[in-house]
């Protein structure tokens, strides 16, 4: 099932955090096409969120085509017509930009970052 928690002090709105977390589950393959998402009420209880917040996140995911809601029976992952690779790349770029911002704030140069990446790649 979905593995994530909400950071209440984050400047990212809570419903966006829910959206990001579910997208990550889908893009990483932990949630697959045809899997059922937890009911709104249950996810709200687990995360201690207002059910309206979870509903808003599900609705947005449906608009973006990640999930399909069937009336009365719940919400299902639907990635049949999705280009998951391009979403994955987009998300990677977002994460990388955040990392770069912080690294540059620390005063790191591009050379430092490159060296670091090479060192980590060698260790893997």
């Amino acid at each position: 099932m979905i593995r994530f928690s909400i950071d209440s002090s984050s400047s990212v709105p809570v419903f966006q955090q829910v959206i990001q977390a579910i997208k990550l589950e889908i893009l990483s393959g932990r949630l697959q096409n045809g899997d059922q998402l937890p009911p709104i009420r249950e996810l709200a209880k687990i995360l201690k969120l207002n059910p309206n917040t979870v509903a808003k996140a599900y609705y947005t995911l449906e608009e973006e085509g990640f999930i399909e809601s069937k009336r009365g029976s719940g919400n299902w992952v639907n990635t049949k017509n999705m280009k998951l690779d391009s979403f994955r790349r987009g998300m990677l770029e977002d994460e990388f930009r955040l990392f770069l911002d912080r690294a540059l704030m620390l005063g790191a140069g591009l050379e430092d970052i490159k060296n670091l990446m090479e060192r980590y790649a060698a260790n893997e």
């Binding site: 002090s9 400047s11 059910p51």
Partner: protein
């Protein structure tokens, strides 16, 4: 979603010479969760008691939507009004009779797993609070008014309490209006924050936009005058500024770390700011 469930117009309440509520106007929408914050004596409880019909205002109107009958308005405060010598079952029957509830939802009782044959006085304070809440939820409330009650409840029952409230919001589209000092658990529930001071509203903001507007800066120097703040805390270690209203270009212009805050901390800072103002005047 945008339908009002409750509208308050020109509400005034006085206790002797003291003005408890001075000309309050406010609307609440269907299914909305609102928290009313403010220092002690700001008028929060008086307002909630007016909405519940427990006290009559000196002036003004409280208008509930047409589809909200009296028995769909549920009110709970820390002065829990329960007959201690009744059993839990008798208490429930009494509640249903008193409020003319013909089709109660008793599922909340089943979740509690209390024996219905024990007397109410055998429950602890926290259990009573939860028992009282399930009495109210059996009404399938359209409006749930909660006056700071979870401070007496232990962490486990608090979670149960919160889950019951979340279920009610989803099941019945309940509008929840709470007064809270203890925030850690419920902080992601309220969608809107109302701040009161001296019997008036001084702030009415969506939780998300309030979070975007207030940031904390920890520093050992004075902030430049262009950065407005509501509250400042000083200690030997440094100064904490609660910047409000925060603008995004502060980040570009100034080298400070503007930290985001949880709702509880934000409200603490706003209340602290009001106390600081009072000291100055």
């Amino acid at each position: 979603m945008n339908e009002n469930v409750l509208e308050v117009r020109n509400l005034k309440v006085r206790f002797g010479k003291k003005v408890a509520l001075g000309d309050i106007d406010v609307q609440f929408r269907k299914g909305e969760s609102v928290v009313i914050a403010g220092s002690n004596g700001a008028g929060k409880s008086t307002l909630l008691r007016c909405l519940a019909g427990v006290i009559h205002p000196d002036k003004g109107q409280i208008l509930y939507a047409k589809d909200v009958p009296r028995e769909k308005i549920a009110f709970i405060s820390d002065g829990l009004s329960l007959f201690e010598n009744m059993t839990l079952k008798q208490g429930l029957d009494f509640h249903l009779r008193t409020f003319h509830i013909h089709d109660p939802d008793e599922s909340f009782f089943q979740q509690l797993k209390f024996s219905l044959n024990q007397k109410i006085k055998s429950l602890s304070v926290g259990e009573r609070t939860l028992y009282h809440l399930s009495l109210l939820l059996s009404q399938k409330p359209a409006v749930l008014l909660i006056d700071e009650i979870i401070h007496a409840v232990d962490p486990y029952l608090r979670e149960k309490f919160l889950e019951a409230v979340i279920e009610a919001i989803d099941k019945y589209g309940t509008t929840m209006i709470t007064i809270n000092h203890t925030f850690s658990e419920i902080q992601n529930i309220p969608e809107r924050v109302l701040m009161m001071e001296g019997g008036r509203f001084i702030l009415d903001e969506k939780s998300e936009s309030l979070k975007a507007k207030i940031k904390k800066v920890v520093t050992d120097v004075e902030l430049p005058a262009e950065i407005p703040f509501v509250f400042k805390k000083e200690s030997v270690v440094g100064k904490e500024y609660f910047v409000y209203p925060f603008q995004d270009d502060f980040r570009r212009k100034y080298p400070y770390d503007f930290q985001s805050l949880e709702l509880g901390e934000i409200i603490k800072a706003l209340i602290g700011g009001e106390y600081a103002k009072k000291r100055m005047s």
